[in-house]
Amino acid sequence: MMKLLKISIFILALLLAQFSAAKEEIGVASAVNKNTTDLTLEEERKLVQAGYKIIQNHTLETDAIGRAALLLIDGTSFSIGPNSSVTLDKFIYNPETAEGSLEVSSRGLLRLVGGKVTKKRPALIRTNSATVGIRGGITIVQTQGLSTSAAFVYGDELTMTPNQNSSAATSLIENGFVVTVEDPTDEVSEPQQLSETFLAELQKGLEAR
């Protein structure tokens, strides 16, 4: 009986620890222009305004006219375009060493400007067709249906790996290129030069109209 009680207490402690970790504030909504919501772990939907605290594992979503910016406590920032979402799956940050890791899932249009944790370890952005890794830099990732494009705006290295074809992973070291995966089993496209026109199209979704 005592043994069962001890195991129960241990499991309860683990659950509580996980719950408190999951509730940890990891940043703030630094700018919100119209409709952005937070889908909590309890499947609740809350309207997000500037200053709203960001919790790990929550999903932030914008509607057709919504745009938002998030600032994490390591200085990493995200800009989210209309009809887009981002889930902060994993964020570990040690302010003493400035080390940690960052993994998010996204849909629609997302710009990431790296903070301290991405300087050493790439931030991972997962979409429905690929995973984009960006180390020490800035990227704009856009999904349209099953297609994912990643623009390497600035940084040390960008990698793109199709979700169901990891052997086709491609790296870029020189910024100013775009790579695309059309579906999760596909190859990564040949890198294309990032044109001002293409960038302007992406940029439209990240500024007020």
């Binding site: 940043g27 703030v28 909504a29 630094s30 700018a31 919100v32 222009n33 500037a50 200053g51 745009r67 938002a68 910016a69 600032l71 406590i73 200085g75 920032s77 800009s79 400035a98 710009r111 400007v113 790296g114 903070g115 301290k116 300087k119 020490g136 830099g137 800035i138 705006v153 600035y154 290295e157 992973a169 491609t170 790296s171 870029l172 070291i173 020189e174 910024n175 100013g176 290129f177 790579v179 890198p191 030069q193 990032l194 044109s195 001002e196 960038l199 302007a200 940029q203 990240l206 500024e207 007020a208 109209r209």
Partner: protein, 432 residues
């Protein structure tokens, strides 16, 4: 306890005083904490951006200014600021986008002039070919300009011979001229690959011992292949350099030696500050006045370089080579080690110290002289000073070379003091 560098810098901080950098970093941390509580406070936003720029963390400033455009896109001064920040990061597509967007607004003339100046600089920076000419001249005082023998009596085949005064070391002054042309071709490759072409001409004229005047022509082409990183590999930023080099040496205006060398070198970073490289080479050499010395060298070279937090670069080099000459007694193997320490001293001064040691063992006896073994030691200390516009460099060098050979006529030492002046700003670009 040493001060921590600002870990988030993208470019060198505008501040140079380490204490001021630390204070500014602390101040920024406080503003950042306030920003997390009140993220739309314009005062905090501008303070955070400005402090980040001072610390060289341009990404942080970019994120603040781009956040402002989410509320209000018609902010030409913020767009100009973003254009300049992306320009400083060499992120030219974004820089052009923001700078050109400033022109859509009724911006003051001085702002538009600034925009055009940056757009012009981007056009220059995006060109595929970069040319540079470097002109150098200087003087060297050598203690042994005639390659004299530093002994009164030497032994040859067991017989002692008195060295005449004329064969003993004599000092002289050398006038040095050097011209180097470099063409760098940007291949617009997603891995940042490029090709470097170099042509270098040198001419050294002695005041008295003109029979030792030397000239050389060196041409080389190096293609850099940046390789994809592998998560299981211990190396990050791996790259492969393939190069071909040809040179010719003239002694007293007569052809002495020509060479064709092929190198393949792998380089990878073990940490952010430690870089390792390993390479092999094949060098085909032709001695034009003594064909028996002609042959080829196969070799292996290793090097390690480490840059400390205080920006002192330490390099260790090792090379093994085997020279296969037509005459068996000219065939040898060599092991050499080198250590270089380079550091900036501030106010445009630089310092470099080098030590090297090489051992050469010949495989067969020389006629009359017997087996030849050599040890070559050298030490070099150099101070350099850049002019305020970084166009003119002066370097002052002291070098001591000591060659000990089992065959005494090959033993000699030399102390050289050199002052060189180089002009490096003959740069021009041509469009792609």
């Amino acid at each position: 306890m040493g001060m921590q560098p600002v870990v988030s810098s993208n470019v060198a901080p505008a501040l140079t005083d380490p204490e001021l950098i630390e204070q500014t970093d602390l101040e920024r941390e406080k503003i950042f904490a306030a920003l997390i509580d009140d993220p739309t406070n314009l005062d905090f936003l501008f303070k955070y951006a400005n402090l980040s720029i001072l610390l060289g963390d341009l990404e942080a400033a970019i994120s603040v200014f781009e956040q402002m455009l989410i509320y209000e896109p018609d902010l030409p001064r913020i767009r100009l600021e973003l254009g300049v920040l992306y320009f400083r990061l060499n992120a030219y597509p974004s820089a052009k986008l923001y700078l050109n967007s400033v022109k859509k607004y009724d911006a003051p003339d001085e702002v538009l002039k600034k925009v055009d100046a940056f757009l012009g600089s981007i056009v220059e920076a995006e060109k595929d070919y970069f040319h540079q000419h470097i002109l150098s001249m200087g003087l060297t005082r050598s203690s042994n300009a005639n390659s004299g023998i530093d002994d009164d009596i030497i032994e040859i085949a067991g017989f002692p011979l008195t060295v005449p005064d004329s064969s003993k070391p004599q000092g002289d002054i050398t006038k040095n001229f050097r011209y180097t042309y470099t063409l760098k071709q940007d291949l617009n490759h997603p891995m940042g690959d490029n090709v470097n072409y170099v042509v270098a001409l040198t001419d050294q004229r002695l005041d008295t011992y003109s029979q030792f005047d030397t000239s050389s022509i060196v041409t080389s082409a190096t293609r850099t292949f940046n390789l994809e990183g592998n998560p299981t590999s211990i190396f990050s930023r791996p790259s492969l350099d393939a190069s071909i080099t040809g040179f010719m040496v003239l002694l007293a205006d007569k052809s002495l030696l020509s060479s064709q060398k092929y190198d393949l070198t792998f380089t990878g970073a073990l940490t952010d500050s430690l870089v390792f490289s390993i390479g092999g080479f094949h060098d085909q050499r032709k001695f034009l006045i003594n064909d028996l010395k002609s042959g080829y060298i196969n070799g292996l070279a290793l090097s390690n370089s480490y840059i400390s937090d205080s920006n002192i670069l330490t390099e260790f080099e090792y090379e093994y080579s085997k020279y296969n000459a037509k005459a068996s007694y000219e065939t040898y193997q060599s092991n050499s080690f080198g250590l270089n320490i380079t550091s900036a001293l501030g106010r445009g001064w630089g310092f470099k110290a080098s030590l090297s040691h090489a051992k050469k063992s010949h495989f067969a006896d020389f006629p009359i002289f017997g087996k030849r073994k050599e040890e070559i030691n050298s030490a070099n200390i150099e101070f350099s000073k850049a002019s305020s516009d970084n166009c003119l460099f002066a370097s002052y060098r002291v070098a001591k070379n000591d060659n000990r050979s089992s065959i005494e006529i090959y033993s000699r030492s030399n102390l050289q003091v050199t002052a060189d002046f180089s002009y490096v700003c003959l740069v021009n670009d041509s469009s792609s």
